[in-house]
């Protein structure tokens, strides 16, 4: 139902109590719109940010918390990957030593280690993207009481193709960076020590 505000306001009798809720496409403009409505009507106009300073602050800080959150996830992932690769290298010390004794150059050892890392990370990245998508879909099936202007009841997910590309590119580059140090240390092994190690 659409009613012009100028037509509606005079119908209100003195002493009557009425509340009108306005939903904006852009929630950040609520304070400005409240002020505008007040200017027009001279009726009390409050916005959601006044109701809940906490929520307003939370929403405002969300960008920062998200970045911190992502950084932690990245850091933890990088450590796990580096750790795993270091374990692989230390388990293969002797084989690396033998390869060196057979004449493999340091650069080759470095490349082998990086290549192995990449060969594992590609299918792992694809698997991660698929699992991520499946998990997101599963969340939409939860009976959450959420209403949004854009998509109606429930949570909807935006699964744009570029997200998958970004996720995969991210996984691969994270793997590459995390694998650099272990690969470098493998290439720097002393063949005598590596072969002698139990």
């Amino acid at each position: 139902m659409h009613i012009e505000l100028s037509a509606f306001l005079p119908t209100l009798k003195d002493g009557a109590s009425c509340r009108i809720e306005v939903k904006l496409a852009d929630y950040t403009r609520a304070p400005a719109m409240a002020k505008k409505l007040y200017d027009i009507s001279r009726y009390e106009a409050t916005n959601w940010q006044d109701f809940s300073r906490e929520i307003a602050r939370f929403v405002g800080n969300q960008g920062v918390t998200n970045i911190l959150f992502y950084m932690f996830i990245l850091l933890i992932s990088a450590f796990v990957i580096a750790n795993t690769t270091i374990m692989v290298v230390s388990k293969r010390r002797r084989e690396i030593g033998i390869l060196m004794a057979m004449g493999a150059k340091r650069r080759s050892i470095l490349m082998i280690s990086l290549l192995e890392n990449m060969l594992i990370s590609l299918p792992a990245g694809v698997l991660g993207a698929v699992l991520g998508y499946a998990a997101a879909q599963a969340i939409t099936l939860l009976p959450l009481n959420v209403t949004s202007a854009a998509a109606g009841d429930g949570i909807s997910i935006a699964a744009r193709p570029e997200y998958f590309v970004i996720a995969l590119a991210f996984a691969l580059s994270l793997n590459f960076v995390s694998g650099l140090y272990p690969a470098y240390s493998a290439a720097r092994l002393d063949p005598v020590e590596a072969i002698g190690s139990e």
Binding site: A101, G103, S108, V192, I195
Partner: protein, 249 residues
């Protein structure tokens, strides 16, 4: 000591010192000359420096002072890449444990040094087959190390050491982990290769039965060569150095 054409490796006054604070002289002024086609054993108590000496000859380790001449060229200060190339082309290694790569079959393991040398796969496979046949494993080409016995694996390792026709094959206690019968088999194999293709072998061992089958025994104690014995007819003739030694070994 002048280099001669048939010298394959010459060590001049070679020393290796470990540690910063407390110096450990693993090798102390070792000079040796080994000719092409020689079958040499290096013996000595553990910690005497015999493995260090072998690692020097194998270009796996660098000397603190002194020189290593491989085929007349001073390689003691060669770059890591150059030493890697020489290890690939001029040297073959057999260790106490076969150190084969477990994921690869026998023939694939033998192909490794050739693939490192950028030989084609088909060429490497062909030579790998030949070598495995030569060590008596022609029927086990596609077996993995865990499907072979210790002696068989060590024979694969010998085949791998020979892959690029090296000037010298180096063995570090290569029968140390084998029973008498397998050791015998490996020795016979090496001797046959030594006689047939004039392959130079340098073995570190504390198995005197094996050492006494070689042509030349170098005894090393505290980083110095204290005795040298050469085969003459059925026995060994000790050099002047040995007078102070215990003579039994």
């Amino acid at each position: 000591m002048n280099n001669r054409d048939d010298d394959i490796i010459v060590l001049k006054d070679l020393s290796k010192i470990y540690g910063n604070g407390v110096e450990v002289r693993a090798l102390d002024g070792v000079s040796v000359r080994i000719l092409a086609g020689e079958f040499v054993a290096i013996v000595g108590p553990s910690g005497s420096g015999k493995s260090t000496l072998l690692n020097m000859i194998g270009l796996l380790d660098t000397p603190s002072s002194g020189h290593i001449f491989l085929k007349g060229i001073d390689v003691s200060r060669a770059s890591p890449d150059e030493r890697a190339r020489l290890r690939n082309q001029e040297l073959g290694f057999v260790f106490q444990y076969h150190h084969l790569i477990p994921e690869f079959t026998a023939v694939e393991n033998v192909m490794m040094p050739m693939l490192i040398a950028n030989k084609s796969k088909s060429e490497a496979h062909k030579r790998g087959e030949e070598l495995l046949r030569a060590v008596g494993l022609g029927d086990r080409l596609h077996s993995r190390p865990n499907q072979l016995s210790g002696g068989q694996n060590q024979r694969v390792a010998v085949a791998r050491a020979l892959a690029n026709n090296p000037s010298i094959v180096i063995g570090d206690e290569l029968t140390g982990n084998l029973d008498t019968k397998s050791s015998e088999l490996i020795y016979n194999l090496l001797r046959e290769l030594n006689q047939k293709i004039n392959q130079t072998f340098i073995l570190v061992t504390h198995d005197m039965t094996l050492a006494e089958k070689t042509d030349r025994i170098l005894r090393i104690v505290d980083g110095k060569i204290v005795c040298e014995m050469r085969r003459k007819d059925d026995g060994f003739v000790a050099s002047d150095l040995c007078e102070m030694g215990d003579g039994q070994n």
